[in-house]
Amino acid sequence: MPNPDASGHWGEFGGRFVPEALIAALDELEAAHTAALADPAFTAELEQLGREYGNLPSPLYFAERLSEEAGVEVWLKREDLNHTGAHKIRNVLGQALLTKRMGKRRIIAETGAGQHGVASATAAAYFGLECTVYMGEEDTRRQALNVARMRLLGAEVVPVTTGSRTLKDAMNEALREWVASVDHTHYLIGSVGGPAPFPQLVRDYCRGIGDEARAQFLERTGALPDVVAACVGGGSNAMGIFTAFLDDEAVKLYGFEAGGDGYDTGRHAATITAGQIGVLHGARTFVLQDEDGQTVESHSISAGLDYPGVGPEHAHLAATGRAAYEPVDDAEAMAALEKLARTEGIICAIESAHGLAGALRLAKGLKAGSRVLVNLSGRGDKDMGNVVEYFGFAGAPEKSGE
């Protein structure tokens, strides 16, 4: 396993940049996670949970009509079909089961648009854990339906009124709250960021995506894909699918970051492409920051990619060249979303559309018959408000019938 070194670093990235008060909890978490993964009872329970409750493994799908248009074979890992509609269920089920194992009775989580909050609240309901979700006050207003989902699931939602009142501030608040409750509370982080062991731990629970896809791909085609593509916000779905292929040197790995209004406008969330090395939320990684190191607000039509940091393992893969990272702007992503809907009858998440759009762009430079595996990380139900706004599909009739 391509794990970090003993102090939680991949090269210069990762580590633990947190108050000393959290170190003991991080050590405990690391030990518990390592022991859990080595315990067949734990892994068997998690596997069963994923199968019976999470609807795993997700299918590998050959997108025939899309492939015809793209000129290469496009294969989709259908994480949109998982319970709660995204790869995120893998992470929350893993961490919630670990929470139980550690004897803690409560989880806290940060959320941006609410997807990770809903997933966390789901896992908490399933395991009978208390759950508090921190969410920027701005976001609680914009994403009222997800707030309702979390409450319906029994979670407490705490609007965060500090800083920019968005995801990064929710994460600050969750870290603060964790310091005060760490004896009985697990911080169920939402992506492959944060202090060690979180980046590795979240990746370990998400790597089923790639492990399954690799086996499914071999079974269906007798070969490995030429390219594996995924969108990158914090980076959990991308690490989830990349990990299985890291040692397959012939398989090219591509992460697609949110290009927002366009990379040139400066209004984007292309952290690896445009950020500098720095420390944010407990890890050294690429960060969108100003000259002084103050975090800069990111921009993307996709709430799930709208984050100014990125998981440190991605920073390392970028620095070593094992994976390539490119921006995909709002317009390109939305065009891919529409194309997938029209050709395959699949409405994916706007996040996932970034990965698909990048893959379709890449396809133009690939030999005919090349095989591209795209992680379709989630479904688009949550995004329909944005879609309506973007495409101007009014509720008003396009044609009145009598």
């Binding site: 102090s7 580590g15 633990r16 940049f17 947190v18 108050p19 000393e20 008060a21 959290l22 170190i23 003991a24 909890a25 500090t162 800083g163 990064k168 501030d169 600050n172 870290l175 603060r176 310091v179 005060a180 409750s181 760490v182 004896d183 500098q276 720095g278 420390v279 944010l280 939320h281 407990g282 960060v287 920051q289 000259e291 002084d292 190191g293 103050q294 975090t295």
Partner: protein, 262 residues
């Protein structure tokens, strides 16, 4: 001037030192200089200048708001050297900063410029010695104090390793939680100080939650320094105007200074 100079004096006087915290640039750049003078005038033994940061994970609402306000006012990292230079000389000036700001400025460059401005050293709330290789080198090179934190949750091993990396004093985070004035000081603080003392002769400062002379006296009974932050910031946050804030700060500092002298 280093922290040790202040502690030499307070130890000689048989009392704890009073450490006053304020974000540089708050309530304005000039007024933060003025505020530091007021604190020194009224009995602060050490000054801790906060470096305003967009993502202050260890701070509670008062300090967050003050830092936001300083940044909204255009505060730049390099201005902390101006403030330091303006106030240095009377008591040791330490900077409390989240690590990204230093890393971004350049660790060696920061240490050099800060030392040149007359600064004593850094308090680093999100930097543990394990990650501090570059900072240890730079602080050695420029003779700066290095204040790391210990916490109630720290193991004996971690306390030992942390104090071994400290210079100047050790910062004991006395409650599990963020900065902010609380009604009662922590019950676990004396225990943490006691555990820490077994590993070091360095002075031990106790932070988090102090807001009155009485509390300062209580902490001064077992700690070597009483660190006050949110209560100081609140002098300005709650005040109708800055002059009122200055006046409240003078009164608060005097009360706290009397506390550590009881």
């Amino acid at each position: 001037m280093h922290a040790a100079d202040a502690f030499a004096k307070t130890r000689a006087e048989g009392r704890a030192a009073l450490v006053g915290y304020l974000p540089a640039g708050y309530p304005t750049l000039a007024d933060s200089i003025k505020a530091v003078d007021i604190m020194i005038d009224h009995g602060a033994d050490i000054i801790e200048l906060g470096l305003p940061y967009s993502d202050p994970v260890m701070d509670g609402p008062a300090i967050q708001r003050a830092a936001d306000q300083a940044l909204a006012g255009g505060f730049r990292t390099r201005q902390v050297f101006e403030v330091t230079e303006a106030v240095a000389g009377r008591v040791p000036i330490l900077v409390m900063t989240y690590w990204n700001l230093v890393e971004r400025y350049g660790v060696d460059r920061f240490a050099r410029d800060f030392a040149a401005a007359g600064g004593a050293g850094l308090i680093t709330p999100d930097l543990i010695p394990d990650e501090a290789g570059e900072w240890i080198k730079a602080s050695d090179a420029y003779g700066l104090d290095r204040v790391f934190l210990v916490a109630p949750s720290s193991t004996e091993e971690r306390i030992a390793a942390t104090v071994a990396a400290c210079r100047g004093f050790v910062y004991a985070q006395s409650v599990m939680g963020v900065t902010g004035a609380r009604a009662a000081t922590s019950a676990v603080a004396p225990a943490l100080v006691e555990r820490t003392r077994k590993h070091t002769d360095l002075p031990i400062g106790v932070g988090l939650g102090v807001r009155s002379g009485d509390q300062a006296a209580e902490i001064g009974a077992y700690g070597d320094a009483v660190i006050v932050g949110s209560a100081i910031v609140n002098c300005y946050l709650d005040a109708p105007d800055i002059p009122t804030g200055h006046q409240r700060l003078a009164e608060l500092t005097a009360d706290l200074a009397a506390g550590v002298r009881r």
